[in-house]
């Protein structure tokens, strides 16, 4: 299955900017389940200097220095990605088969294991995700009993978020504390993801933030407009000694054929698509336009 992704981020500044350092993370990752057929990045104004590197979480980063005087910076990432849903299905099935009771997972995590080691980066509080309150803990524990199978529990937990929380754009931003999201029971995919990760970490499980795209299908008879998609976020839970499995609480499904994986981190901060520091006074405004199109089955 092949997708074409167009992801444009624009910063508009109040004043003239003559010098700005930026980091773009727009190139999707390659792994067993997806292959990058083509990727290009278009930057306006043109860059003075560009360095690429891979960060600790395995994401591709581009460090961009812009020195042309400008009032707006736009970075467009164009990717052609082939995904292999049957492989991902098989992986998820394997995770499900090898899952274990919650209490066993906890005891395995306590001991040393080389394979688990790398997952433990995602086990602690991070910049944007603190551990949850008692109320949040009580909420997540409704699904996670000690004898309960981890995979099942998490699938149920995802479904409860899907049912209990309302998708309301504009209520929150990336810095909105999860307690607030939990109290209001509303937000967007990012919030649900942050909330789920915080909850899982609170009860002692490693969980990571996945950023990416999801294919949207227009209503029957309607033409899909260009650029109306959004970037998407979901989370992955770690099953000790076994591996990671993704859950999308916004759509109550386990990502397979409609999700394209961009990058991962402890929270949104680790995989912000574009961030920058400018030498200028005044505010800046951010605009994002995303288009995800399936080009072949």
């Amino acid at each position: 299955m092949i997708y074409d992704i167009y992801h444009k981020t624009t910063f508009e500044y109040e004043g003239m900017v003559t010098f700005s350092h930026n980091i773009a993370r727009l190139k999707p990752r390659e792994n067993r389940f997806q292959k990058i057929l083509d990727f290009s990045m278009e930057i306006l104004p043109s860059v003075y200097e560009e360095h690429s590197f891979t960060d600790m979480f395995g994401n591709s980063n581009s460090h961009l220095l812009i020195r042309k005087p400008h009032r707006a910076l736009s970075v467009i990432g164009r990717s052609r990605v082939e995904i292999f849903p049957h492989l991902l299905d098989a992986h998820n099935e394997r995770m499900k088969q090898n899952s274990m009771p919650y209490e066993k997972a906890l005891s395995l995590l306590e001991s040393f294991d080389l394979y688990d080691l790398m997952a433990k980066k995602y086990w602690f509080e991070s910049e944007l995700i603190c551990k949850g309150s008692r109320a949040i803990e009580a909420y997540v524990r409704q699904s996670f009993h000690s004898k309960r199978d981890l995979f099942e529990a998490c699938a149920e937990f995802m479904q409860r978020i899907f049912n209990d929380f309302e998708f309301v754009p504009g209520f929150s931003d990336v810095t909105t504390p999860i307690e607030e999201i939990f109290d209001a029971k509303k937000g967007v995919c990012q919030d649900f993801t942050h909330f789920a990760i915080a909850s899982l970490r609170t009860i002692g499980l490693p969980a990571k933030y996945i950023s990416g795209y999801i294919e949207t299908i227009p209503k029957e008879g309607e033409e899909k407009l260009f650029g109306v998609d959004a970037s998407h976020a979901w989370f992955a839970l770690y099953i000790p000694r076994v591996g990671w499995v993704g859950f999308d609480p916004t759509n109550n499904l386990i990502p397979t054929s409609q999700h394209i994986f961009l990058g991962q981190g402890r929270d949104y901060d680790d995989i912000t698509p574009l961030k920058g520091v400018v030498m200028s006074s005044g505010k800046s405004e951010l605009q994002i336009s995303v288009d995800v199109r399936r080009v072949s089955l």
Partner: protein, 830 residues
């Protein structure tokens, strides 16, 4: 035993005395000297120390604080902390071993992570620690990623050995204070402790310089000390360190990253920097990749590390080894890397992330001290026995909720050492901070250190923030090498010349000139106007109402505090009470353009260029600011008190101006200040001239107005001497604007500016853009004819030609200022 009669010996270990009250051998000389000296001499030495400290500015930290009193004097005890050479040799070995070990840990954690992969340390102690920086992942494989500078805190345990308490690895502080303590002790030691020899500190400073030389490949002009700035509590130390290490002192805004390297913005252009001694904490060093809300760092800094073009002392990420959670594993790490035993003992530490350890801690909590493994938040140490039942329960909850974030340590009673305090000698707890730097084969340790004392005899914890005293650490003995104190003799190192001056400082010098000119001129104008108001009442002058209205409007234009006095009703009566408006223009710090606002801007500029100024000027400014704040926070005012305060302020400002102009030579940057001062003076003079000289008035009013403009420029007598006549508009216009010989005239100022521009680093054969503007202004002034300027149509009440002329001049001066800033302070085209 007189001096020590009251001295209590209840400590588990006393530095000076054996349990039976006899004096330890290595303290006998010091003890005898103190006994011989007596209380009065000791008191005299204490005040001598305080005088030296104040005289060197050690007590002057931050003074641009509205509350005024933010200075915390640094205090030093006249009694040193003494240690034998033999003991020190062993301690030094331990420090070197620990430094080497922590360097290996640091490099491994940001490299191969063998310690984690081979389960030498649990990953929770690393990944759960807020000092772990994923951004520098794999940087540990780079050659120049090392723990170059390492400090530790230690204290003597009941067994008589020195125990490690803390490791300091990010940006260890206190070295400057340790050096200053020693220099101050040197001044009293010859008299107080004749024949007692302590090892010198200067060898260590040499080692530090060697390291800088190595990292900069021989050119130490490529090294800089990155400070958070003058508002930081230890700024004194940053300035001091940069001065004796002879490297640039910079703030984040002084630097920029491009071409994968770091550059210092200096007046002559960008200069490469490849070594950064930093006093900014890890997470604040780069707003792009680290904390985005930091104003202290340089955006792109992490990338210059990534490109391998920068060595940092110490690298970003070093906070990970300031980690109490490592303690229980240090012995294992030591065996793993070095196959050795740890030399320096540590306090028994339990990391609560392990089940058994947590159970032990919870069971024995009452006798333990609990801390977080990292110190990124406000560091909190829980001494369990001091907690209430409720607090204990709360602590238990915290431990159970996040066990891997905490360690517990046994409570140890450390040794006490004698300290002079208000006429008596008392035992105090002491913690020693020792310093080491990396050399080619290992680490060099300073033969001395900074000793901090607890606030009172009973206090357990030592904190310089709570106002405890400090001591100098003396390692008895002489150095092998003959050593002069030469390194310290070069007193405050100043930026050598304007060419190499960091841009930020240069810009602040320019603004210092502008704000100072504005403060002085504003004070004078307001003072004159208030006087005029008082006199008007007294003489019931008829012309006074019109004159006052003109003066008030001139003040609004002058301070650009619109609508101010221009806010009139249709019948020309003011909406506001004049004295109230004037008081606001004097006192309201939050009103842009007010005198108080200008003075606070002057204060910021003053702080930013502090290192260039003489100590007297800091003291004077400090005093001025304190008095000014007392005045503006008072609720009531009258025209008399306003006048009184303005008089006082003016004297302070003039004295400050004199000190600034005297303490710097032109080539050190005074020229930037002068340019700022002159441009501002020109703009303000033009503003006054437009308000006061362009109006056609009745004769009596004209006289008052001319007197006002001359009076507010302190030029009345000069005018009298020149013209020997009564006041005439034409004469005043000529005198203040066109006279090429009168130093306050516009023509004279323009001429001086043109001269000053020629001495700047970017001066060229042809006119620069800013030069061009002033050149035009100067030509305009020189080519103008008084009679043309004073032409007026019969019906008109305004001298239009003059007004247009002045308005054009104003634009030229303002344009020059903008172009000047662009040329020297922006760097965007380099």
């Amino acid at each position: 035993m007189q001096m020590f009669e009251q001295y209590s010996l209840h400590a588990s270990y006393d530095e000076m005395f054996h349990k039976d009250g006899t004096v330890r051998a290595h303290w006998q000389d010091i003890y005898a000297h103190i006994e011989r000296a007596g209380v009065d001499t000791l008191a005299a030495k204490q005040s001598e120390i305080e005088w030296h400290m104040e005289d060197n500015g050690v007590t002057y930290n931050v003074y641009n604080n509205p509350d005024g009193n933010n200075n915390r004097p640094w205090t030093l005890d006249p009694i040193p902390f003494v240690m034998t050479q033999e003991e020190w040799r062993e301690v030094k070995r331990g420090i070197k071993q620990r430094a080497k070990l922590l360097n290996l840990v640091l490099r491994d954690l940001y490299g191969e992570q063998k310690l984690l992969k081979e389960n030498i340390i649990p990953s929770e102690v690393i990944f759960g620690h807020k000092g772990f920086s994923p951004e520098v992942f794999n940087f540990g494989l780079k050659e120049n990623f090392n723990l170059y500078f390492y400090a530790l805190d230690m204290a003597r345990g009941p067994d008589g050995k020195m125990w490690v308490i803390n490791d300091r690895t990010q940006a260890p502080s206190g070295l400057g204070y340790a050096v200053e303590n020693r220099l101050t002790m040197n001044m009293i030691a010859k008299e107080l402790y004749p024949n007692v020899e302590a090892k010198k500190l200067s060898l260590f400073v040499e080692e530090f310089k060697k390291l800088l030389k190595k990292l900069t490949h021989g050119d130490t002009s490529k090294a800089a000390l990155l400070t958070p700035g003058p508002h930081n509590e230890t700024y004194f130390e940053h300035a001091y360190l940069s001065s004796f290490l002879e490297i640039n002192l910079v703030q984040g805004d002084d630097l920029l990253a491009k071409n994968g390297s770091l550059w210092l913005k200096s007046l002559s252009g960008l200069k490469p920097i490849n070594t950064l001694l930093r006093r900014v904490d890890d997470r604040f060093c780069d707003p792009l990749e680290l904390r985005s809300d930091s104003r202290l760092g340089v955006s792109g800094l992490v990338d210059t590390l990534r490109q391998g073009h920068l060595a940092m002392i110490n690298p970003i990420g070093s906070a990970i080894v300031e980690n109490a959670g490592l303690n229980p594993f240090m012995s294992r790490i030591c065996h793993y890397f070095l196959d050795e035993e740890l030399i320096l003992p540590q306090i028994a530490t339990w990391w609560c992330g392990q089940k058994q350890e947590l159970a032990y801690v919870l069971e024995h909590l009452e006798g333990l001290i609990v801390k977080k493994i990292d110190r990124t938040e406000v560091m909190k140490t829980y001494i369990a026995k001091h907690l209430s039942a409720e607090e204990l329960a709360h602590l238990r909850d915290k431990l159970c909720a996040n066990p891997d974030q905490y360690v517990a340590q046994e409570e140890i009673s450390f040794s006490k050492t004698p300290c002079y305090d208000n006429g008596k000698i008392e035992p105090r707890n002491a913690v020693i901070r020792a310093y080491s730097v990396k050399n080619d084969t290992g680490y060099s340790v300073m033969n001395g250190g900074l000793v901090r004392l607890s606030v009172s005899t009973d206090a357990l914890l030592v904190s310089s923030q709570k106002g405890g005293k400090s001591k100098d650490l003396w390692i008895l003995g002489t150095d092998n090498k003959i050593d002069t104190n030469a390194i310290f003799k070069t007193l405050p190192y100043l930026d050598l010349s304007i060419k190499h001056m960091p841009t930020l400082k240069a810009e602040n010098l320019f603004w210092l000139g502008r704000y100072l000119a504005r403060s002085i001129a504003t004070t004078r104008l307001i003072r004159y106007i208030i006087k005029k108001m008082i006199h008007a009442h007294r003489y019931e002058s008829t012309s006074s109402k019109e004159v006052q209205l003109i003066l008030h409007k001139a003040l609004t234009h002058f301070t650009m505090t619109y609508p101010g006095f221009l806010d009139t009703k249709e019948d020309e009566t003011l909406k506001i009470e004049p004295l109230q408006e004037i008081a606001s223009l004097v006192r309201d710090t939050f009103r842009q353009g007010s005198l108080s606002f200008t003075i606070s801007m002057l204060g910021s500029a003053n702080i930013a260029v502090k290192s260039l100024l003489a100590i007297e000027s800091w003291k004077l400014f400090d005093k001025m600011q304190k008095e000014w704040h007392t005045f503006i926070y008072k609720n009531s005012y009258s025209s008399q008190t306003l006048l009184h305060e303005l008089d006082k302020e003016l004297i302070y400002l003039m004295a400050y101006k004199e000190l600034v102009e005297e303490s710097m030579v032109s080539d050190q940057g005074l020229v930037l200040y002068s340019i700022g001062f002159k441009i501002e003076s020109a703009l303000l003079l033009i503003s006054k001239a437009r308000s006061l000289l362009c109006l056609k008035l009745e004769k009596s009013s004209t006289y008052d107005i001319l007197e006002a403009i001359l009076g507010s420029c302190e030029s009345f007598n000069a005018y009298r001497t020149q013209y020997k006549s009564s006041l005439a508009l034409e004469n005043v216009v000529e005198f203040l604007l066109l006279n090429p010989h009168f130093p306050k005239s516009l023509t004279y100022i323009a001429d001086e500016l043109l001269q000053a521009f020629k001495t700047l680093p970017k001066a060229k054969k042809y006119l620069s853009s800013y030069e061009e503007a002033i050149f035009k202004a100067h030509a305009k002034l020189r080519l103008s004819h008084l009679s043309t300027l004073m032409e007026i149509e019969e019906e008109s009440s305004v001298y239009h030609v003059l007004d247009t002329f002045l308005s054009e001049l104003s634009e030229l001066f303002a344009h020059a200022s903008i172009e000047f800033s662009k040329t020297y302070f922006s760097h965007y085209d380099e």
